[in-house]
Symmetry: C3
Subunit: 427 residues, 3 copies
């Protein structure tokens, strides 16, 4: 990769190539429990390098609007939430939750000037405890997301959020590249309450030379990874990627399915969304308690914030004694923190001109190419990108053992579809 | 406004368009109580992006000189104040309070080399507890300032200082644009001990659609703002602006007159000077005590600093409960802090390309144009700018009720002049 | 000096003019006591703007390698130190202490791909408690350094390290320019246990107009400084500079010899190495205890760090009362801290376009020219720079009294050579 490509892939502010691409999708931006109460104090949110406010009016309607008053640029975070909208503290301009200015008190009675004033404003869609937004051209707003984790009943799903201090692409690269599991997460998958005990773990740790078979899908790509299983058969783990940044981790044993969505805050920070759900059963109280403590791919946070408790300022609480003793390969606790640690350690934006990629990086190479191509097709030809159509969301990660002679595309065809009521393919 | 104009108006370092303009005026830079004692430790000051030292020699003479030794660039703040001047700690070069190098100990006896070495040096003028400087070409140094607040007896006047974390122009814009009083300061003018109880407040709060009548004066501009009073009459509030950044708030009832001068520290910080004085009487002990506590347009500070106690790091101590309950419109306490909060919330330098100005912004539009024109006339034709002549300083803000048929320019003519011994026009 | 020259002289990152010069020398980078234990945790080091790790494998071999894994850029500081090398926590790539990749676990058995992967790697040479490295082209690696401080028996020498928050050249300028001793260190040389009581001090403080006689040597330059002594004789202090940044302070009385080497961390920080040694005797316990407390040119540190306890954030603990009273000229304690204080006060990189140099600056002028010329000769003609040849290291500072008619070059010829077993020329 040259420097220009790295810039193109990692910049997502307004007007950038990749920024335009991200603005064609519904993106998770907040937990709904963090939305303001009706008539409550607005909440500051930064997404794709835009400073925004989540607002809720006294009638309970929510919206995501530009932070600054159109008049003189005062932050509306200081505004007063009144019936009908938020009023700027400076000159009393008032805006509804769609960013429409509804009143300029200094204007003559009957003036319609305010109708011409509108802030950037994006819809907020609440599904199962998560608020999603769409920041692109209204005429291209897609139907609502259909990711299975967001559509199963609330008791079957859990979603968490962590602020990661690096560019989104380092996180996505990591999510795609499952070959690191045998190293970085080698101990954790056998001890984590939502990973341990599966036959798949054994295959995973025994064969350190996985074969990657990567191919395009309607919504993005599939990364099929093959390891040796019993004689005559392969253990397949297939990770679907739906553009721009949705991935599903193939499940293990009877555990829930996990996955991520990454949303750029700005070019040097991203929101790491992590979900765990089961297609056909409720999460158990034990599972939910563990997830809230940072189990599986989730992360324990500094209370009152979305910053991981183990973070760059404390070297991720690395336990060198355990690392040297060999009882914990990375010395760092927890799959989620392990990922964040290595990804942040590359710097705010990894210098990809210095990489040396190998065969197990085929997935991330193809993902980067697909993202870049989709962004160029959108800009140059207006092509709707993969993953916009909610039908593309209905995918699952799958883990299964297949005889040597069965290609995964055949043997896992059904397993990769998110079919309501059908249990996952899990080993 | 385009980005180039915004840059031109907001940059005031050496050699900039607006920097050259500011360097033609006397500017307040310190409270005299913060000047060093005779022979005392120099005080670091930054003005118009220049790092300076206020020095006082053992004879009591003061000066404002460049911070760094002309020899090798060592900060003279570490120097020793000796009879005759300050001596650099590195090689003993010595400078008097005019920045003249008076000794280079390593030079041969009788050498006159030191006479050719001179630091930037600016005069310090002490008036009523405030030290002013002039940073322009010596041959253009104007006579001493004649602002009324600086010329009435000390017992009639009070001046304070706060460090504001944004460009000076946001502060000046706010000082000019009095239409925000009915909103941002709507509660405060009725509760502040130096604003409350006047008839003017009633007019102010009743008519939210003030009419702006803006026109040039010899020293800058007048912003006359008209609101409905009793039938057949208007309540006029007239704010004189003297270039570059002096404004007077029209008085209320029997209260003192207030006003501001803003002085750029650098392009992202300014010193907010606030004054309160009465032309014909001493301030009462109650008034003075209230001013020291941050009443009127003054600000309560973090002890030992000039940083407001309510500042961006604590969200200006906003009281959301009071704001939502409607008992305090902005939720922020104090007129001075309210102004600083909204102005700082625009960012270090407001992006004026995104503004939507309306009729009540006529004052600030004209002020910006006048500043820019004055700076260009100075640069291109050497024209002495408005406000340099101390006669231009002798203005007052005025508040008065006039019959519909009397134009303010006629009815307020005398009231706008700062005539010694004449009480202000105040309603 | 113009701005271009200042840039050329102060930038030392990879590929810069001066960076290429520095990369031709052995440079001290760490105290050996800070090297990892065998198989221990790597230590992060930044030298010449490169982020490096000092590593020691389980066999005890040490090396200095690039911090980031060649694969995806993860910091190997988080790696596990295993027999044979350090393993990246992400995908298990393994590197030996020479930066050679020795294993890529995901590659097929028998693959030799890892042989083509090598990190930046530099040798670590341990001499008398100090670890040196050479960061240039291996084919140009010079023989080991022969500085006398590094070659006398361990009991005769002491070396310390401080992190200085400015460009290396400000430090070197200061080391060369000894005319500041009479001012900045005027009190200290009479009170410091490793400076006080010498006849030289008297000469030093009596004649404030030293004459500089500067000339080239094989390894750099000699700065001979002449002051009046008894009638008919001069007190000479001769400071050898060996490129790029080695200087020796001429000794005083029976005290040890002191000196510095400065190594750029990056362009705004440098490591200040300070040494004290005696060519013919062990340091006494009293001397060693004083050195460890920051006597002579050493510095007392914040425990657990290399940051001086007196630093820019506490204004170097300046004692203004003592300064004003005249009992301590600079108000700052300690020769080492005094130097750092004035040098840092110039800013991270001194703006040399604003200097006014005088005759006592002849030494630093010639040093800068010599550095620049050596760097250009290296780049343009491949000329091996002065100071690379270890024979050039065998110099000493010398202090001696000579009759007027004896030129220093003659009278001090032997005294400037570091001859084993020969006591220093010291007054």
């Amino acid at each position: 990769m040259n420097q220009q490509q790295n810039e193109e892939l990692t910049r997502t502010g307004p007007g950038t190539l990749m920024g335009d691409l991200f603005r064609r999708y519904w993106l998770p931006v907040m937990l709904t429990r963090d939305l303001p109460a009706p008539g409550g104090v607005p909440v500051r949110v930064k997404v794709l390098s835009e400073r925004l406010l989540a607002v809720r009016d006294t009638d309970g309607k929510v919206g995501l609007i530009g932070e600054f008053c159109a008049h003189r640029g005062v932050s509306l975070w200081f505004g007063r939430n009144e019936p009908g909208g938020i009023r700027c503290p400076y000159h009393g301009w008032k805006y509804d939750v769609k960013g429409q200015c509804t009143e300029i008190p200094s204007e003559p009675e009957g003036s319609t000037h305010c109708q011409r004033i509108k802030l950037a404003a994006y819809p907020l869609l609440e599904i199962n405890g998560v608020a999603w937004t769409y920041m692109g051209p209204p005429e291209h707003q897609p139907p609502h997301p259909q990711f299975e984790f967001a559509r199963v009943p609330a008791e079957q799903t859990y979603m968490s959020l962590a602020h990661q201090e690096c560019n989104y692409l380092q996180a996505l690269d990591g999510g795609i590249d499952s070959s690191h599991v045998s190293f970085l997460h080698g101990d954790a998958i056998n001890s984590d309450p939502l990973f341990k005990g599966s036959k798949g773990n054994e295959y995973n740790l025994k064969d350190l030379r996985p074969q990657f078979d990567v191919g395009p899908t309607e919504g993005g790509i599939n990364i099929a990874v093959r390891r040796n299983a019993e004689a005559g058969s392969y253990y397949w783990r297939i990770t679907p990627v739906v553009l721009p940044t949705f991935i599903v981790v193939p499940p293990r044993g009877t555990h829930p399915i996990h996955g991520h969505v990454w949303v750029p805050i700005d070019d040097e920070n991203c929101m790491t969304w992590s979900f765990s759900y089961h297609p056909t059963r409720a999460l158990t109280p034990q599972e939910r308690a563990a997830l809230e403590e940072g189990a599986a791919i989730h992360v324990k946070l500094v209370p009152g914030t979305y910053r991981p408790a183990a973070n760059r300022d404390n070297d991720y609480l690395i336990d060198r004694a355990a690392q040297l003793a060999g009882t914990k390969f990375s010395g760092i606790d927890g799959i989620g923190v392990q990922d964040i640690a290595v990804q942040e350690s590359m710097g705010a934006i990894q210098d990809r001109t210095k990489e040396h990629l190998v065969s197990t990086d085929r997935g991330l190479v193809m993902a980067r190419r697909t993202l870049l191509q989709a962004a160029k097709d959108l800009r140059e030809r207006g092509t709707t990108p993969p993953g916009v159509d909610p039908e593309h969301h209905k995918v699952r990660g799958a883990a299964l053992v297949l005889p040597h002679e069965v290609p995964f595309a055949e043997g896992a065809r059904e397993a990769l579809r998110a079919l309501p009521g059908v249990p996952p393919a899990s080993v």
